[in-house]
Each structure stands twice: as structure tokens, then as C-alpha cells.
């Protein structure tokens, strides 16, 4: 009788401890600026791929209804709190206006990770993004080389309240001002949008018909500007540089319609979010010795890498092998 009891007890103990040893399921919510931009769709795809590989992560990824209207993003994040998410990822539409909402998430005890574009306050565990300042600098350096140090350029800026825009301009403007032969004739916002990019580019061409290059701070605006250049017959004259690494833009570089693109590896950003969210949900703290963001309070910046690709790189140096380049570039075909 005693033997049976002991065996039963051991079996019970074993089953209970096995069920505890099984991996816990994590639920993460990600509030993106918009799902109407291929850059963020790549990011979403990367996050979903990482979640599928891990197997115990349930992702809810949403985009705000208007990429500039903060209120729908606020509602989505507040509803994530109601859903008792383990970690909330935010691509902040407006770096100051999102702060009270981040503080609300902090009060609810849920860790916050800012992704791609940071908030200027509130407690964030880490910020996963490209080094936007470096990206801006790379764009400026490329333009200087491509124009042999002389020419007129225009800038298509992103939404004014965006931290990403701020940082990219921080990298681009001081660098381009170093080159005395290069003149910035126009710097206008196209709010990250393709239709605005087309409209603003059109107006800039009208005002400055002898333009030599355009730096667009994201690929949606670049692709819109591309259509304007095509319609006005200025594709050969004006070198168009984009920023994001969205696959449609890379295709245009490969075809020679765009001159260059600053690649951000959005899929990798999505993957990094999931991996870091799991570690943070398990109680880990990101390494505090990494560079910190220029915000208040600052937070650890996890760099997802940045590079610039141009026509020679894709067409000549790499050619058909460009499928093998890391990140989402390997999905690009002819």
C-alpha cells in the first residue's frame, strides 16, 4: 500500500514539474505607425517569422488608422493594456504626444520597447532601430561622391514630429553642409507619404529645374518622387536617394531608376523586437553599456545595422548574387 502511494506521489510530482518546465507562452503587442507602408510590413513579417520560429510567442501587430493621427495609436496601446500584454512595442507617431500613454503602460507594469522611431520620454526598456544619424550621414556622403562635390540638391523630409526624421536630418544636414560645392535648394516635408512625395517633388522640380539630386528620408516618399521625376522626364538628370531598404525601392535601384537607398533591414528590426521582448519578459535587462538615446530619460539603443546600396553595388558588383545579401534583400528578384 505504502509503495503504491509513494509511486503515485512520484508520478504526480513528475507531471507537475514537467508542466512547469514547459515554455511559457508570451503575448506581445506591437503598435506600428501604419500598416500602409511596405517598410513596416517587412518589419511585421520579420517579427512574425521570429515568433513562428520560437513557437511560444503570440503577436498582435496593429497599425494606426492615420499615420499622423496620434489618437488611434493611443487607443490601440490602451487596449493592449486591457489585453494584459507581456511586452508592448511602440513605433511612436509623435515623440512627445505618446509620452503620457507610455507612462500609463509603465503604471500598468508592462515593459515598453520602442521600435524604429523613439519616444522622447517615458520608461522604455530599450530602443531597437537603425542608427538613423549614421544613415543620414551615409546618404550625405554618397551624394557628395556621386555629384563629385558640386551640385544642387533637395531634401524630402518625413513628418515633423517624428524622432526618426529628426535623427536622419541630424546625420544628413551637418554632413552635407561640410561640402561647400553642394547647395541645398529646398527642404520640404512630404510626411512619409508616397502621394505627398510625388506632389512635393513636382513642385520642387518646377522651382529648381537644374536640380542634381534628391535625398528622400523614406522610401515611400522616394517612390512618389520617382513618379514625379518620370513624368517630368528628369530621371536621368536627378539622382534619387531613398531611405528604408523597402524591397520596392531596392528593385528600383537595381533597375537604375533610383540611384541609391539607405538600407535599414526592417525584417531584422522585427526579429530583434521579438527576441528582446522574450528576454525582457523573462526578466532580463538589456546590457546597459550600449550607446544610449539622446532622449529624456535615455534608453539603451539596440542597433539593427545600416548600409547604403547603389546601382553599381547591385548591378555590377553583386549582380544576380544580390539575392544572397542578408536580411530581406534575399527576397528580391529581377
Amino acid at each position: 500500500m505504502k509503495k503504491i502511494l509513494v509511486i503515485a506521489f512520484i508520478v504526480l510530482f513528475a507531471t507537475v514539474s514537467i508542466s512547469f518546465a514547459q515554455k511559457k507562452e508570451f503575448r506581445f503587442g506591437m503598435a506600428m505607425q501604419t500598416l500602409q507602408n511596405p517598410f513596416y510590413l517587412s518589419m511585421k513579417a520579420g517579427a512574425e517569422k521570429a515568433a513562428a520560429e520560437l513557437g511560444n510567442v503570440k503577436l498582435t501587430i496593429v497599425g494606426a488608422e492615420h499615420s499622423t493621427d496620434l489618437t488611434s495609436q493611443v487607443k490601440q496601446i490602451e487596449d493592449f493594456i486591457q489585453m494584459k500584454m507581456d511586452v508592448i512595442g511602440i513605433v511612436a507617431i509623435e515623440k512627445k504626444g505618446i509620452i503620457p500613454t507610455i507612462e500609463k503602460v509603465n503604471r500598468a507594469g508592462i515593459p515598453v520597447i520602442t521600435v524604429d522611431t523613439d519616444a522622447d520620454g517615458g520608461k522604455r526598456e530599450c530602443y531597437i532601430a537603425t542608427d538613423n544619424v549614421l544613415g543620414g550621414k551615409l546618404g550625405a556622403q554618397w551624394i557628395e561622391k556621386a555629384l563629385y562635390g558640386k551640385g544642387k540638391i533637395a531634401i524630402l523630409e518625413g513628418a515633423p514630429g517624428s524622432q526618426a526624421n529628426f535623427l536622419r536630418m541630424e546625420g544628413f544636414k551637418p554632413e552635407i553642409e561640410k561640402y561647400k560645392g553642394i547647395q541645398v535648394v529646398s527642404s520640404l516635408t512630404a510626411k512619409w507619404r508616397r502621394d505627398e512625395g510625388m506632389r512635393v517633388m513636382n513642385d520642387i522640380i518646377t522651382a529648381h529645374p537644374d536640380l542634381n539630386a534628391v535625398m528622400a528620408m523614406n522610401d515611400e516618399m522616394a517612390l512618389g518622387a520617382l513618379e514625379a521625376l518620370r513624368t517630368r522626364g528628369k530621371l536621368k538628370q536627378i539622382k534619387l536617394v531613398g531611405f528604408n531598404g523597402a524591397f520596392e525601392a531596392i528593385q528600383q535601384v537595381y533597375r537604375g531608376n533610383m540611384a541609391a537607398d539607405v538600407v535599414q533591414y526592417p525584417e531584422r528590426i522585427g526579429e530583434l523586437f521579438v527576441h528582446w521582448a522574450v528576454r525582457i519578459a523573462n526578466g532580463e535587462k538589456p546590457p546597459q553599456d550600449l550607446p544610449k538615446t539622446p532622449t529624456n530619460p535615455p534608453t539603451v539603443h539596440i542597433d539593427s545595422g545600416v548600409a547604403i546600396v547603389d546601382v553599381p553595388l547591385l548591378q555590377i558588383k553583386v549582380g544576380p548574387a544580390f539575392k544572397a545579401i542578408g536580411g530581406e534583400l534575399k527576397n528580391y528578384t529581377n
Binding site: 497599425g63 493621427d69 490602451e78 512627445k96
Partner: protein
Amino acid sequence: MMEKVAQPETLEHSEKKMGGWVKRFSTLIGLILICLVLTLTSKYFLSFENFISILLQNANIAILAVGLTLVILLGEIDLSVGGVEALGCVVAAWMMVYGGLGIIPSIIIALVASTLCGLVSGFFVAYFRFHSFVSTLAMMGIARGLALIYTHGASIYGLPDSFRFIGQGSIGPIPVPVLVAAVVLLLAHFLLTQFRLGNHIYAVGGNIEAARLAGINVGRVKLIVLSISGFCSGLAGIIMASRLNSGQGTIGETDLLDAIASVIIGGTSLMGGVGTIPGTILGVLIISVIRNGLNLLGVSSFWQMVAIGVIIICAVLVDEIRRRLQEKER
């Protein structure tokens, strides 16, 4: 002479109020059904915190909907509510941060500015025979443009800490914006049911020529109502400034859609003369619950747009069918 014409009016008026009850009943059933479905599909829906969250998130829409209800009852429309909301938000923030003014003076100035917007729209509608669509469309551009100019498209931040109480504080378990919305809804309800202006609004909306013949100053009614709508938009904007702790010139685009949808779903007819504040309350609740529920289910905002469009069609369809059935009975 006033009494002779008043009699048929009051008969129509009370019939419309009766029709209002039936309508409200079907809208209430709709709301209950939606809540039931959401309770069954999402375990996070039915909770006190979620309920409070829903009310808080949509308090500004409720306030916008109050102004819009009065406007639509007149048979007019106000497209500027989103733009004026943004302007109210920005003016309040600007006054506190750059104007160096205290909280109360800043709020007053923001309310004056937004009421002025409504007054200007109303002026052209009342005395120059502008269609309110035209007048408020123009005002929408002017208000939003000004809001974006003063924020340079970004935001105005550095608001005083005590200002946060309006958008982020609560009295007991009830958030302040919800209390403000409740007060505004109550005042509007009293206006429509207890005051002569309320009667005039229904009269003008129901039959503008009869109202004119009855001696109602139609122009003045329109002017007052559009000014009230401006005031409400500004108030909503001030609440948002506190919720976001900044002046944002970009808010209000989705709010316009949600507010109009709420008013229509709540049973107010675009033709004018038919509608109530309790109906609007139900309409706001339906919109709020749908958005919240779909968020909790992780449904993309694209589907939310579809859902709201479908609900608008259903609500107005039910209305039209009921109206035809009522006519057949006569």
C-alpha cells in the same frame, strides 16, 4: 397667431419624440448584441477597467457628437469639428507654453477661439445662405491649417503638470473627461427638451419655412448652434491636449468620422428635425465598443473602418424600414 401654428407643430414634435423611443429601443438592442458577441469572443472585454477605458477614450468623441447632434438636427452639417478640435488643442497648449498664461486663461482663450470658428461658419450659413457643407469645409481647412502652422506640424510640449488632471485625472473611479462629457451631454439634453431654443432647433430642422412663418429667427438659431458646435470641438481639443500632454495639430481626422457616425447611428436624421441626445449617447457607445472590441481581438484598423461603415448602413436602413412601416399604419 403663434398658438395656431404651434399646435400642429407640437403634434409632430411629440410624434417624433415617440418615434425616438422606438428607434432608441432598436439601437439599444444593437448595442447589447454587439456587447454580447464581444464578451463571447474576447475575454478582456467584460471588465470594469475596460469599460472605464472605453468611456475615457471616447469622451472627446461624445462631446463632438453633442455639437454635431444639434447641427444635424437643424438639417445642417459641421465638417470642421476635427480641425477645430485640433485648433483648440493647439491654442490651449500654445497659451500655456509660449503665451505664459495660466491654465484657466489658456482654456478660456482656446474655447473662445473655437467658438469663434463656429460663429464664423454659422455667420455665412445664417446670413449669406452658404450651405453648411461649404462653410464648415472651408473652416475645417482654416482651423487645421492654423493648428499645423502653430505647431510646425510637430507638437507643443512643456505643459504645466497640473494641467494633466483634466485629461488624466479621475474623481473616484471616473476619469475627468468622462465627467466633462456627462455634463455636456446633460446640458445639451436639457437645452433640447426644456428650453425654447430646443423647440426652435427641432422646428427649423423639421420644416424651415413653417419655422420662419412661426416667427422663429432661423438665422440666429443656425448661428447659435454652429457656435455651440465650435465650442464643443474646442472643449474636446482641450481634453486631448491634457491626455496627450502636448498640443497636437494632427488630431481629429478619425474623430470627425466617428462623431458623425455616432450621431447617425444614434438615430438623428440628416434631413433634420429628428433625433435626441440619448440616441447620440447610444451611438457613441456603439462606435466606442466596436473599436475597442476589434482592438481587443487584434483586428486591423482597416476592418474597423469597414465595420463602422456597415453599421452606419444597418442603422439608417433599420430607421428607413421602421419609418415606412409606420407610414403604412397610418
